[in-house]
Symmetry: C2
Subunit: 125 residues, 2 copies
DNA sequence: ACACGTGTTCTATGAGTTGTAGAACAGACC
DNA sequence: GGTCTGTTCTACAACTCATAGAACACGTGT
């Protein structure tokens, strides 16, 4: 688990932690059952407050990607989440619209999607 | 220009206005030279403050999608913006990772991308 | 010239978010 | 018992979001 966050970024730290974990899960670097560092430990490693890490973990838990117990700590545990697809597709539409509006071609955009997905696939294989 | 925003959404109003305009440009409903309503007029139509509309328009202008002058008001004007592609691809990676992490298959995700892009293409044709 | 609509800029306020901070409690492990 | 951990509470400074009012500059139409 190499989790690099940019403390100077305009993106909130807890959001960056969340995104990096999600990307690690998608890439297969983190599979069901794999443990994450404790909130206090990761906070020390990143040089931030443990409440910030807690917020990121709690968000992942609410999304059904993490199981957190006093016993096992935080472990990856993917459970089905209703209503995710619809909300996700709305965000996809906005993101793709931005690319098209800025002049990228449909084929070019689709190529980026394919390349990004293939990167996840390759790491997992 | 039918611009529907959800005042009860957790997404900021100015962001929704921004996103709807971007989507309209991508779909070809708004082309270069097309005017947008004045900030005060759109604010009245949506039942919000004109400063909020101003913020959305200013964001679109900074992104190189809008030209705003005292003379012509706000008109769609797409100009090249350096550094957009890199930042956009990072957001694409995060969004696609979320889908994969939640259990959607690569082929399924790519299908959603293709469908969304085709929707833009069809409206424009 | 005049009024009007518009973009632009300033201050200000209240509510909410972000990140940090300290403290306390409960369960698990050695 | 001591330590590490998750969990929960309060608190604070800085920032964002949305609203609000005021003022100024510019263009248009009468």
């Amino acid at each position: 688990m190499i989790l690099d966050v940019d403390l100077t970024s305009e993106v909130p730290i807890y959001q960056q932690i969340h995104d990096r974990v999600v990307e690690a899960i998608a890439a297969g670097e983190l599979a069901d059952g794999d443990p994450l560092p404790s909130t206090r430990q990761l906070a020390v490693d990143l040089g931030i407050n443990f409440h910030t890490v807690n917020k990121a973990y709690d968000q992942l838990r609410r999304e059904g990607l993490l199981l957190i117990t006093r016993k096992s700590g935080a472990v990856v545990q993917r459970v089905s989440t209703a209503g995710f697809a619809a909300e996700w597709q709305a965000r996809l539409k906005t993101l793709l619209a931005e690319a098209i509006a800025h002049g990228l071609g449909e084929r070019e955009v689709l190529g980026h999607c394919e390349t990004t997905l293939r990167a996840f696939e390759e790491v997992r294989a």
